[in-house]
Symmetry: C2
DNA sequence: TTTATTAACGTAACCGGTTACGTAAAAGTC
DNA sequence: GACTTTTACGTAACCGGTTACGTTAATAAA
């Protein structure tokens, strides 16, 4: 049916070994036979079978990405960047979407191992002991993207604590004294990096001699809707509230939207700063000030790292922390 | 190194054929040997090699998705939905990002064939003759997602013409007489469905005895920035403009943002209707009225269709058109 | 001219599974 | 008890490549 290396060999009157050699530029054949082989390939429209090749080579030129439900622009950021790097490295990516369910993650890891991917990027997912053990056993190179871990594995992360601290400090420097935070789900196992964010927020407040207790933070999940409900809740909990730090831009967007509906003016009545500096920040009304975590950069680093690990098959382990900065727009007032 | 079916066979004192049989529940072995085999698998932590399996089975349980640069929420919509369906069908997805470059598309098609994917979903990409010929030759099942084609291939699309017509008619019915459109790039080969959108727009105008010439349409690319520049341009080109139809929500978002910056009130001064009904519409200020194209539904249908085609390996060809409707929010005023 | 070296291949084993076919033992039939 | 059928396997070929090794012919060296 489909044409194989054997067909090419026969038509070119050589052995399949020779065909394989010219295919891989390995030398060991004359110019003339090379031409013959190439001609046969051309005529038969031969397309090598990567599956067969992978079997002997023990390399699939495929890496797996597993990620939970994320803000769409984050997912896209990650995926785009990783895919671009992978493509340059001559590899493809299999994406696995875990829907925030732990069980599915383990299933996916097994699946990816079955498919013999060359490496795995695990994004925004806490590395459970179970996962770690499995990865250790299978020896698949792995890098964590946007999560740290207690286990010795490569990772590319942002310093969430410091970033949150910076966001909060920025608000304080603009003169705000009553500031609240809207966070993701307390129990949420995804991302797993909101606790540092809450800590950074509180510490910044405390460091500047401002009060900071649990009333100052409101928990939701990770979406726009939470911004809306969070806003009213927060206003109730902290009297005289003038500024809000939202754990991510999507929540920030929700706050902006809710404020608009409630007739609360941003930034005149209340200032908002988000986090992630996602693309749409610029186009919100008002444009959302946000602390940039350069997700693209993270993803790119993670992708490069995984290929580095794959190539030098020594067990290199590296941990990168990308920088952050606040990008000022118009959602924060100075008092 | 890694444990193979042979290792299992030896430990269980059977042939690898038998191991394979119990692995695939094929019968032809006693309960006792089954237990032995299972025990050996357990003890050795055997994990079958999908690559080897694919080689004989001629099935990789992998499908390829190729898509160009899209609005991130669209991409995510597509990917999520397709991945979910694929996962249920026991398959994985390889995503290929063409960055709106035609050359890359062909490369990806070849790559996917090399990797012997079971099927391909080609999203928002015009099916060039070259692609079609290649697909025909390789006999890979393919379905087009969000693009039609002159060639006989399966597809799941929206009726862009009708949807644009509906959007425009909606504006007219709200009393608008001077309405303009901001479209994507005229020459853009991606999406390929903006021409019908422009046509739908113009026809709706004409059908209601309103003027519609090329001045009423402004072309950009597909992003927020185009909304911003498009707005000022359009205001210049059509005097007395009261409403704008944007080819997609991202442009719509850009218009909203630009209007805010320019002090133009939406919808009081100018009404805006978008297209796609992407998630963030609800959270814009004001919330953006948009005609819903149910992309999730499209993606799901496309995914189901591709697996249907893969299973019944007859060359089934089906063409679905999903419905559309305008979802009213607050960006359109009635005069 | 004879011998050593190298170039240009072919042969066959291997990667890790699946499966058609053959066979011995167990079970069923008369 | 002899014969047929069924069960429970093992053997070996196969999927489509890669590669170690062996062989022959051409070329270089002596």
């Amino acid at each position: 049916m489909t044409v194989t290396i054997m067909d090419v060999a026969e038509r070119a009157n050589v052995s399949k070994a020779t065909v394989s050699r010219v295919l891989n530029d390995q030398g060991g054949y004359s110019e003339k036979t090379k031409r013959h082989v190439l001609k046969a390939i051309e005529e038969l429209e031969y397309n090598p079978n990567a599956v067969a090749r992978s079997l002997t080579n023990k390399k699939t030129h495929t890496i797996g990405i597993v990620l939970p439900d994320l803000i769409s622009s984050l997912t896209t950021n990650f995926l785009n960047e990783i895919e671009a790097v992978a493509h340059k490295a001559g590899s493809s990516i299999i994406v696995c979407h875990t829907e925030s369910k732990g069980a599915k993650t383990m299933k996916y890891l097994k699946l990816l191992h079955e498919k013999r991917v060359d490496g795995i990027i695990l994004a925004s997912t806490i590395l459970q002991k179970e996962y770690y053990d499995y990865i250790e056993k299978t020896k698949i190179p792995i890098v964590l993207l946007s999560t740290d871990s207690e286990y010795p594995v490569s990772s590319v992360t942002a310093d969430d604590y410091a970033a949150a601290y910076m966001a909060t400090k920025y608000l304080i420097q603009q003169g705000h004294k009553k500031v609240g935070m809207i966070s993701g789900n307390k129990e949420e196992w995804v991302a797993g990096n909101h606790l540092p964010r809450v800590e950074g927020f509180k510490t910044a407040l405390l460091d500047h001699k401002l009060s900071a207790n649990e009333d100052h933070v409101v928990y939701g999940r990770f979406s726009c809707e939470d911004g809306a409900t969070g806003l009213t809740k927060l206003i109730g909990q902290v009297p005289g509230l003038t500024a809000i730090f939202t754990e991510n831009d999507e929540i920030g967007m929700g706050v902006l939207s809710a404020a608009y509906q409630l007739g609360i003016k941003v930034p005149e009545d209340i200032s908002v700063i988000g986090m992630d500096n996602v693309k749409f920040c610029e186009f919100l009304n008002p444009p959302l000030t946000s602390v940039s975590l350069s997700h693209s950069e993270m993803a790119e680093k993670a992708a490069n790292l995984i290929f580095e690990m794959i190539e030098s098959n020594k067990a290199v382990k590296k941990n990168y922390i990308v920088s952050h900065r606040v990008v000022e727009r118009q959602s924060v007032n100075s008092l």
